[in-house]
Every structure is written in C-alpha cells, then in structure tokens.
Amino acid sequence: MSSSTPQSPTPTPQSHATRPSRVVFNRRVGPGWYTLRLEEATIAQVSRAGQFVQVKTADRSSFDPLLRRPFSVYDVDRERGTYDLLYTAVGRGTRWLADIPDSPGTMVEVEGPFGNTFTAPTDRDSIYLVGGGVGVAPLYLFARELLASRSALPRITLCMGARTREQLQGIDEFRRLSLRCEVATDDGSEGFHGRVTQLFATLAERDREPLRVYGCGPQGMNESLRAIAVERSYPTEICVESLMACGFGVCFGCVLPIRKKPGGDFYNRRTCYEGPVFDARLLHPGIE
C-alpha cells in the first residue's frame, strides 16, 4: 500500500479568496475551449494541483444561472498573483465565461481554492499523468509543480486522450515542459489509435521503475484507469468530477460512494471536501 492518501487541507479564512478576481485575458485556444487568466493574490498563492475554484457565471447582482461552476486550477504565477483556468464552453455558465472580453479588466466573482491536492511521488518513481478533455487542467499544474520542486528532473510521462487531434486540449503547453508526451485519439488522427487508458496500460507495462499514476478525465476514462490501477496494483490518484452546489462541504450534493480505506465500506463522501482527488482503490467500481 502506498503511504500517501490525498490530504484535505484544513480551510481557514486566510486560505480563501475574499476579493473578486480580475480578468487578465480570456483567450480562445482551440475549438470551443479557452484559457482564462485571472488576477487574485490569495488564489494564486495557495492553490495546489487538484484544487478547484467556484466561479460565479453571472453578473454580480444576477442569480440566473444561480450556482457557481467548479474549475480546476490549471496554472499559477505566484509572483504576479495570477492563475489560469482551462475551460470548454458546454452550457450556459461556460458560454457566459466565453463571452468575457479577451482584454484586461472584467471582474469575476471567484471563491476558493477548494478541495484536496495530489500527493507527491518519491524521487524514484516513474510518474504517469493520464488525462482526457479538460481533465488535463489539474495535471498541467501538477507537472509544473513537480518540475519546479525537484532537484533531479523527474521522469514524467503524460498520456493525453481526445476524440480527434483538434481536441487535444493544452497539448502544446505540455510539450513545452520537460516531460514525455504521448497522445491517443479515438479516430487515430494523432498518436495511438484508441483509448488513452489503453495507451497508458501498454506504456506502463514496459516500464521497469516503480510507477506513480495521476489521472483526471471524463468519468469513463476515470473508471477504466481505476480498473487498471486496481488490477495491476499501481499506486494511483484520480481527480473525480461530480455535480456540485456549494463546493465547500455544506450541502452534501456532490457525494460519491467512496471508501475511507482500501477494502473498507463505501460511504457517501463529499468530492468537494474529502476530494476531488482520491486513491483509486477507494473509488466505487463501475461509476460512469
């Protein structure tokens, strides 16, 4: 059993943003997806990979749409006090975001950061980041954290999946980092022809080093990664997604059946508070 369990940082008033965030840019970076850079010192300072923010996707005095939208922190610049989100415009809230001008100044109400973080690997580990869709966002910040914190360059392999090559979100940013990038597309338009989890399984099998795996993607991808991890006993952490109302632990709207320890009973645990990062062995099989 791996020693690490993703930790929930205890939130304190000092660890949350109290001011709105200011838009630096809101750039379209691919078909339907965008990078939003925001300026707010606390979020930029304290956010760690895996954590997310809750964004109000309506004007200040409007309550429609009502609920905030959760987005993983994609990147931070702690010195400049900025942080980035990578998002796809899929519905009302994300389309509202996409309509923000791509110029500095707009104020956006953002609360956070919330949730727990990925836990660090050891220096010997061969690290795999397995992501699909916007799930690559927390993996990017994690890769940057690992590359910045290690004296010896860590061995990191990114496995990124998408339907087509056009939908490989953020791949260019990953390619600028010192890591191995492997891609899988459903239509074979780039890289491995098939699922990203199949690609990962093949690469991992050939690897002679102890593995550490971190995943984040759509539910289907998370589920196949969980199954591979459990079957082959790879120490794996998965960042899960769920519908949320509050995002900070009070409503119990975001629960999933999750164990407290490997082999233990399932409890309805809050993905926003005890998660969103969980050891793969704790997740319920077959939730897609």
Partner: protein, 328 residues
C-alpha cells in the same frame, strides 16, 4: 443541567438596531442559517464567524445515521435549484459527541433541527437534547420532501402536527420551532395546529417538491427522481405563505425561501416574519450574511427606525379594492 434561561439567552447588544426577539429568544439580529445549507458550522467557518448570525440552524439530525439519497443529488433550475440529499446525517449519537461540543462554543444561538420517522423518534431526540447544554432551541423538520417515510406526512396533516408538537413540548423545555412544508393546499390549518401544540416559532418554509427531466436521456436529472426546489425562484411563493400564516397565528414566524439580499429580508419582515433563514444563498455567496447585515443597518437608519422589528408585519393591503363594472 442548565436552566432554560441560561441556555436560551443569546448575547445581545442592547440598543442594537438589528436586535431581534423571536418568541422567547433574544437574537443579535434576524438572520439565521437554514438547515442543510450551513452544515454544523465547521466548513462555513472558512468564510464567516458563526457568531455574526442571529442563530444558526444545523442540518437535520435523525436518531440513527442516514446515508441519504442516490446521486445525482443536485440540479440547477431557472433562478433556483433542486436537491435530493435525503437527509444524509451522522445520527444523534455522533452529532452529540462530535459536532455539538464545537457548536456550543459559537457565540450565537444554536438551533438543532431534528427529523424522525415516528412521533416516538422525535420525542426520544427531544428528550436527549433537553439534557444537553448549548442547545438554544430545536427545530422540528416535519416537512422534508426527500424522504419516503419521513417527516412530510406529519407536516401535511394538522392533527398529526399538533400531536407531534405537543408530545415534544412535554419533554423539551427550550423553544421549539416547527418547520412546515409548503406542499399543502392550505398552510394555515397546519400552522395553527403547530401553534396549538405548543410551538414557539414557525419556520416557513421548507422546499417545494419538484422535478427536472433530461429529455434526451429520458431520465430524471435527480437520482431521487423528485427533489426540493429552493433559491430565488421560490421567494414569491414563500412570501405569500409567510403572510398568510402571520395573519392566522400569534407566534412569531421565521421566513425562509430564496432570500439573497437585504431587500429580500425586508420583504419577509414587512410580510410578517420576525426573522429569516438563508439557505441556498450560502452556496452562491458564502459571505452573504455579514454583507446583508451591513445593508440592513443602513436601511434601518435610512428609514429612521429604532429597530428593524418595527417593520415586522407592516404590510398595507387595500381594505377596499376598487370594484369596476364589466365582464373583464
């Protein structure tokens, strides 16, 4: 054992323009948290000091732990949301040993909301809470739309409501809030029944039962199929029920439903509520309460009032509507 007066005297700033009387309780201000939207205070502590609230109401506690309803449990609707949480809670024993000790230290009145499957269960829980220091009041959830056998049955039947409240009254010495459901044809008989049974305060209202459908998948959007509607969408409906009940009952009313800002609070007070609870607002703006308190103080000053309670029940309705001829 503490005497009721010790237990039920909240810290009150004398002369404060927001100081509020709620039946036997004296509150710092008229803003309470609504059950299920504030946890037991711990997580919210990252944003606000529970001590700024007039009182805090915890999530419903049942005698035994409950796992709650299947997922998905929340779904957004036009200016509102549906929830089907199903009263997931740690149960009375764990509440008393793990949560209540911390809540006692909050510098405000702690209201413990309880839910049961039978009168016996409510009575057992009330007896237990009567012995616990730090319980400022109990709120009887007889109105949850999300439980098959749960409280709703009581809340739709005036006779059952009166019996339940009276039995609890016999074993609990502190203030009792009866939280009613809006899912009835006429709320007045149920409100009067709760008053007759000995309730000190009426909490109006719990969520409206509703549903949402994903037509492409031919599936309901909630795991529990139906759920409770909350948020700004229900405010006009809640206001009407508060107004109706306040005219029919003598005991004070806590207005609940879609309150997001100071104007919403004042609308409820004018309609007849003595205080209000905020629920869904916490999800959207976790610091709503301190922000609203500032605006309320300003409003009281602007209106030239001594105290905010001067507004309670000041709604003017035309006694003589103008009648016109015609078929329109």
């Amino acid at each position: 054992m503490t005497t009721p007066t010790e237990v039920h005297s909240p810290p009150t700033e004398r002369q404060s323009p927001l100081a509020t009387r709620l039946g036997p309780l004296r509150l710092r201000n008229p803003l309470l948290s609504a059950s299920g939207c504030f946890g037991y205070g711990e997580e919210m502590g990252a944003f606000v000091d529970p001590g700024v609230y007039g009182a805090i109401v915890g999530k419903s506690i049942s005698r035994l732990p409950r796992n709650g309803n299947p997922i998905p449990r929340v779904c957004e609707t036009a200016s509102g949301m549906l929830n089907s949480i199903g009263l997931q809670n740690p149960g009375m024993d764990a509440f008393i040993s793990n949560y209540l000790p911390r809540m006692r230290h909050y510098d405000t009145v702690v209201v413990v909301n309880i839910v049961g499957d039978s009168i016996d269960e409510y009575v057992q829980m009330a007896e237990r809470l009567d012995r616990e220091p730090g319980v400022g009041a109990i709120e009887l959830n007889i109105s949850c739309p999300n439980c098959a056998v749960g409280g709703m049955e009581f809340g739709i039947d005036p006779q059952a409501t009166e019996t339940l409240v009276r039995k609890v009254r016999d074993c609990f010495r502190g203030p009792i809030f009866a939280k009613l459901t809006p899912n009835v044809t006429d709320i007045v008989p149920v409100a009067k029944a709760a008053e007759a049974g000995g309730a000190d305060v009426l909490s109006l209202i719990n969520t409206f039962v509703g549903m949402s459908v994903d037509w492409r998948k031919r599936r309901p959007r909630l795991g529990g199929v139906t759920g409770g509607l909350s948020g700004p969408a229900i405010k006009p409906l809640a206001l009407r029920l508060v107004w109706l009940a306040s005219r029919a009952c003598r005991i004070p009313i806590v207005g609940i439903g879609g309150i997001m800002n100071a104007d919403d609070v004042l609308e409820f007070l004018v309609a007849g509520a003595s205080a209000v609870q905020l629920g869904t607002a916490h999800f959207v703006e976790p610091r709503s309460v301190p922000r609203i308190l500032e605006a309320l103080e300003q409003a009281v000053q602007d209106e030239g009032l001594d105290n905010i309670s001067d507004l309670v029940g000041t709604l003017k309705t035309d006694k003589k509507p103008i009648t016109i001829q015609g078929d329109g």
